[in-house]
């Protein structure tokens, strides 16, 4: 087995990886409804094709959309988030109280909720669930992040649970609405992390896990007697569908063809190239922008060239965001108008600042002492304005986007080298700071993601300097009042864009293909799917 074969395997792995990660989008049209006037009916099976399987059936340990789609349906969360308004609304918790300093969260649980093994979902179960999170390990990065700094969790009585943090942590309320903090049974909480992945967890959700074959399929069955749905759902009680089968089809072409030929009912990750074929086959395409930090270039702000604000700003003005959105991403994708996507609560429209202005980019560089050399690339003190963009093969749109950016920046006299890396190097590269500009995005339906990414008190991978930004980010984390928090979040976005600590480029849009016979396949606030209200003809 020489290097060649190994290399071939690697390539295959890579291609499959790409296919997997494409599926991170969503649309503002929350819900299909597909224009049929027929009334909803119960029963039937929905077959959904996804591109990958992460090998885990525990919602607290998955981060890939392809896995979240299925395991999300197994658990309920304390709260839900309205995809239209971003507001947090009741689900398992009928109400909650948050201390003024955003350190103490008390949830009042609804009564009569049971897990599918018959045990009650009470304060003890929630406490055990949250307490188990820090021990889950590497796969549970999202959940452990949400609960970081937790001081104690108490079950005050059967229906009341209180979570106390050492520092203000306003994001926690939204975090309780995510799949990552979905509640599993007492027995599941006691299992070691790998067992939860392989054996599955017991949840209280509208569906139960009926079968799982790694890399092949996940089968969900309707939970009979379910009666504690989110306050956002249209149908009270049980789900419509009897069964949902998630098939793993790694090849994008096979997913598309299978949907066109009716072998599956819905697919994730529709790419630009497949849109017209699907539309002509009568398939409904649904899209929603992923909330969170948009795709963009995050500089290593401590880098000798990039610590200069003029250079970072010039990069921002030299990028034609519209062109990238229109040529690389699926139809309807919007160019970035802030650091946050427009579907994120607290988003502030900064399209006035994030413009394409080549002349401004050039004059900024000129004024900063970078003058054009013989080959068109700018120089200063004998040093070329040449930068490397580090990227990972986790989405098929990455390479074409960056090649376009490479051409665009060249117009301003900035040379760009593209450095591709394996996704397994991701953590190492960010930790060691061994990059100049990094390309990426983060999905999260709470503006606190700005603090996670850019606070100097946390990991600070992008080496953001100590400025007033830090104070704003800390303040918003301790502000419960929504209006006041939004103001702070807006200021943080303005600060990030003005100083170009990061250069937002384009939003990520999740696009699903849904057959005509399927109705009400809805996006939730994080642009993933909710299947309780879904029905088939």
């Amino acid at each position: 087995m020489g290097r060649t074969l190994k290399h071939a395997w690697l390539n295959v792995g890579l291609v499959a990886g790409l296919v997997v990660l494409t599926g991170c989008g969503g649309g503002d049209s929350a819900g299909s409804g597909a224009g049929s006037s027929s009334t909803p009916k119960s029963g039937g099976t929905l077959t959904f094709a996804v591109g990958s399987d992460t090998g885990c059936t525990d919602p607290q340990q998955v981060a890939s959309n392809d896995s979240i789609y299925s395991v999300r349906q197994l658990v309920d969360s304390l709260t839900d988030q309205d995809p239209q308004t971003g507001k947090i609304v009741p689900w398992l918790a009928e109400s909650w109280d948050i201390s003024k300093d955003a350190t103490t969260f008390t949830f009042h649980l609804r009564e009569g909720v049971t897990f599918s093994d018959g045990t009650p979902l009470d304060a003890e179960a929630v406490k055990a669930d949250f307490e188990a999170v820090p021990d889950l390990g590497a796969l549970a990065g999202l959940a452990t992040g949400y609960l970081a700094g937790v001081e104690k969790i108490t079950a005050d009585d059967a229906q009341t649970v209180t979570v106390t943090f050492a520092q203000p942590n306003a994001q926690f309320l939204q975090a309780t609405s995510t799949h990552s903090l979905g509640i599993v049974s007492l027995a599941s909480s006691k299992l070691p992390a790998p067992d939860r992945c392989t054996k599955g967890i017991i949840g209280s959700g509208p569906f139960t896990l009926a079968g799982y074959a790694a890399n092949q399929s996940t089968t969900l069955k309707k939970r009979t007697g379910y009666a504690w749905g989110s306050s956002l759902w249209k149908k009270p009680g049980e789900a419509y569908l009897d069964q949902v089968v998630f098939k793993v089809l790694p090849e994008a072409g096979v997913r598309t063809g299978s949907l066109q030929s009716g072998q599956v009912d819905a697919i994730g990750n529709v790419g630009r190239a497949d849109e017209s074929a699907l539309e002509s086959a009568g398939v409904t395409l649904e899209a929603r922008a992923n909330p969170g930090v948009v795709f963009g270039l995050s500089p290593n702000n401590a880098h000798p060239i990039l610590k200069d604000a003029a250079v970072r700003q010039a990069i921002g003005y030299a990028i034609d965001r519209q062109q990238i959105a229109d040529t690389v991403f699926n139809t309807g994708t919007e160019p970035a108008t802030s650091v946050l996507a427009h579907t994120t609560p607290g988003y502030e429209d900064l399209s006035g600042q994030l413009t394409f202005d080549l002349d401004k980019a050039k004059s900024l560089l000129e004024g900063d002492g970078w003058s054009a050399g013989a080959d068109g690339i700018r120089e200063k003190d004998g040093k070329k304005l040449s930068l490397a963009i580090t990227w990972f093969a986790n989405s098929p749109t990455n390479q074409p986007s960056l090649e376009l950016i490479q051409q665009q920046l060249k117009q301003a006299g900035i040379a760009v080298e593209l450095k591709q890396n394996e996704i397994s190097q991701f953590a190492t590269i960010l930790q060691t700071g061994d990059f100049e500009l990094a390309w990426g995005n983060v999905t999260r339906a709470d503006p606190d993601i700005l603090r996670t990414q850019f606070s100097t008190a946390l990991a600070n991978f992008y080496q953001v300097p100590e400025t007033g930004l830090e104070k704003t980010l800390t303040q918003q984390a301790g502000t419960v009042d929504e209006a006041a928090r939004e103001k702070l979040v807006a200021r943080a976005q303005e600060d990030l864009v003005e100083n170009a600590y990061t250069v937002p480029v384009v939003e990520l849009q999740t696009k699903l293909g849904v057959a005509k016979r399927v109705h009400d396949l809805n996006f939730e606030a994080s642009s993933r799917i909710q299947l309780h209200d879904t029905w088939v003809e």
């Binding site: 087995m1 190994k6 991170c24 796969l139 999202l142 090849e251 009716g262 999905t443 990414q453």
Partner: protein
């Protein structure tokens, strides 16, 4: 003969050890490690606490010196324990034995098809008396070898599954689901068998003993099938032994295109997450199959051609 077999078995152990060792060090030398790969599984650039990663590396032993890790793995492998998958926590042996039957079924069907199609094509091409037909038939194998396997798979699935729904596009269900992947996998293999067999048949048909047979009045078909094919099949058999390795490598692509469960899919996901124990396990199994098949091929030579003697000192060099 027994001494020959013993010698070959010793060699096989050496091959297994070399494959195991080489794959281990290639995986270790790759940048990144399985723990970082796990942490990056979400693809989002959410930061992971470095201390937490360190703790996990310690837990899995990835913080130990590489030679120590190697000896540790090797020691367990020697007593049949290939360890647990880092990504899923399942025992490697279980992962492989669950996936292996599907892949064996696929590759065995493909190999059979490849022999039938490739052999038939070579015979038809060399038997044909009309130069035009012969030329067309002889140009098919090079085409089959050069077209990428995944492309053949996608074309077949496009026509036979999406356009006309005769066969399912994905899955492991039943014989119907086996047809398209087996045909796809058989094309490059069959083409290589056809290439070698046709060339060998043409050479053999020029040999003096064929002339003798003809002079004795044997019919064309009799000479072709009885006299020429038997001798000409040795090189094709040698190639077929080597092609088993290629079949297994192609299965990675085919199982991905057709979304079949099998060793190829296990390999693909293990490599992409740098799941060292699983990749090691697959390499050992792959090497084992390869060694066994080639030993069998060697043992068949004397049956086909009594002039070949299996001697310990002189490994078989078939007339290639």
């Amino acid at each position: 003969m027994p001494r020959y077999v013993i010698r070959r078995l010793v060699q096989a152990v050496g091959v297994l050890w070399a494959a195991y060792t080489l794959s281990f060090f290639i995986l270790v030398l790759l940048p990144g490690d399985p723990v970082s790969a796990m942490a990056g599984a979400g693809a989002d650039s959410a930061p992971v606490d470095p201390a937490r990663l360190e703790a996990l590396r310690h837990e899995y032993g990835f913080d130990q010196p590489v030679p120590l890790q190697y000896l540790n793995h090797l020691g367990h492998a020697l007593i049949g324990d290939l360890g647990d998958s880092v990504a899923t926590g399942r025992p490697v042996t279980q992962l492989i034995t669950q996936a292996l039957p599907q892949t064996l079924l696929l590759t065995a069907s493909a190999l059979t098809l490849a022999f039938v199609l490739g052999g038939g094509l070579a015979l038809a091409a060399t038997f044909s008396a009309r130069p035009g037909v012969r030329q067309v038939l002889l140009s098919l194998p090079p085409l089959g070898v050069s077209v990428p396997t995944f492309w053949i798979g996608l074309m077949l699935v496009q026509f036979f599954s999406f356009r006309n729904q005769w066969f399912p596009a994905f899955g492991n269900d039943g014989l119907k689901g086996l047809v398209l992947p087996a045909v796809t996998l058989a094309v490059p293999t069959g083409a290589q068998i056809a290439l070698v067999l046709a060339k060998s048949l043409i050479t053999t048909l020029d040999e003096p003993y064929i002339g003798t047979a003809r002079a004795k009045g044997a019919g064309r078909r009799h000479v072709h099938l009885r006299h020429a094919l038997r001798n000409a099949s040795l090189p094709a058999l040698t190639v077929a032994g080597l092609l088993v390795g290629q079949l297994m490598a192609n299965a990675v692509v085919i199982e991905t295109v057709f979304s079949r469960n099998g060793l190829g899919r296990v390999t693909q996901s293990a490599v992409s997450t740098q799941d060292i124990p699983v990749v090691q396990g697959v390499v050992v199994y792959g090497a084992l199959v390869f060694v066994v098949v080639n030993l069998l091929v060697d043992l068949v030579y004397p049956v086909l051609d009594p002039r070949i003697v299996l001697a310990p000192r002189r490994p078989v060099v078939a007339a290639v």
